[in-house]
Symmetry: D2
Subunit: 154 residues, 4 copies
């Protein structure tokens, strides 16, 4: 189960890189977990769902209908931004796109929990794995290995 | 998404009624959500999974490996008994088996949220719908209707 | 730290029994913890605060201004009814007044956690300690002993 | 209610700057809220408590006895690192010392919620207010104003 985190800005709901990540996760048989809303989350879910994959959206509100249209399993939490902890907890690794303070909190929480964070968003945070392409990011997340073949530095 | 709640006592992990409920949920295309552990949860998940259905386990601990073997999507929360709120929130209706104070808390939370609670466990709680068979329980949960055909009293 | 749970119905915000419980908690040096809203919570906080005691309100929303006027320390959670778990977790014992499904969930959660539940609300729940007066309830909660002098049956 | 966040490393439990911040918060009548453990949290609570102030510790575990000795009101959550959201939610502003990913998550969550974050730890995060002394940090947190007298830029 791989987390995809990034801006919820609806303008990013067709982001090609996020769609490609989602599509590749589906192809690799991974389940995509995210915060369930629009923006990067929706783009990645669209890619995953359209390629036959499963998606889980852990929502901030109390209702399922705030989920983007590509969420297969909607989990409303009623915890607001507090659901970020649950998104990260459910992920075996996370792929981070650019975003705001919410995304930053998820990166920090994932690193706090010792989970691999693959950075596709140009974050300037120690401890993340830098990826340049969707394929590289998905491989790094799934295999827990850095791009140059070395062991993953947990 | 239908919640199944009840005792986590491992002695109940083969409970035939819970297995039948799980199997019928799969046959009706519903996703089974539960607390992810043993006992009634495991019996129901076994029935659902064995009939080709999907199961979601919202776990109390921080790790996925506490999930029973029939959980398809494990969501560890690290919230302990606090995850009961999330099990109920994710459910469109819940089917309650006999259980302890944890199950009682889930019944109360579901009723507080205005969700149908179908009682297969002999609970003496106002506001629940009484069912006698697995088929009746699943129908009542899915259709939100009482056994005698009247509208569900939301 | 003693929890006071019961109906949030504003009509109960001057309930004399809840005020007396609050006042006695203050006199005994206990901190009153509750869900922070109106009804029984407000009556008990009024009694406690007016007698010089400390009160903690663990609120469902994201803002402190939903707290009743007698809350000294407002803790907004943004978790909705999920904050019930935190009210109970913070309490060394709870005193239960009459209420709805929310109160019922707190009774069940407290019993699940093995905490003394003193019943002043006529709840028909196994495992609670029955009290008839405010003084008796406060003594039972603070001393963890039943009214007739026997050891508290943890 | 002012949050103090920073490393929980016990080696920092006598950190002079954190003690001074705690002492000044007490002198200004503020309540100090924190994660309740050791390190920077303990140093600040020591300063606050020793100066007659009130402290609230929102703990990760299920038990109060993990609180540092200067916590007046211990709120165990059983939510692990998820309690960080609650620490920030309870704070009207936060003062950040140096720390790890947990502290970073709290900074991000506070900025996400639009709360002033006063930085005494050399964090390289946009949106925080930079302070150089304890007195300056406490003033900035309490008055919501930058050090040079301009309005606080919400």
């Amino acid at each position: 189960m791989i987390g995809v985190i990034g801006s919820g800005n609806p303008e990013k709901k067709d982001d090609p890189l996020a769609r490609e990540v989602g599509s590749l996760l589906a192809a690799r048989g991974a389940v995509l977990v995210c915060g369930g809303l629009s923006g990067i989350m929706e783009a990645a879910c669209n890619g995953c769902f359209s390629s036959g994959g499963q998606t889980v959206g852990i929502l901030p509100g109390e209702r399922k209908d705030e989920a983007n249209p590509y969420i297969v399993h909607a989990i409303p939490t009623g915890m607001g931004i507090g659901r970020n902890v649950l998104v990260v907890r459910a992920s075996d690794a996370v792929i981070a796109f650019s975003g705001g303070y919410g995304t930053m909190s998820e990166i920090a929480l994932a690193l706090n929990m010792g989970k691999p964070v693959v950075d596709l968003g140009g974050w300037d945070t120690q401890g993340t794995l830098k990826a340049r392409t969707a394929a590289q990011a998905v491989s790094m997340a799934l295999e827990g290995s850095s791009g140059n073949g070395s062991d993953f530095p947990r």
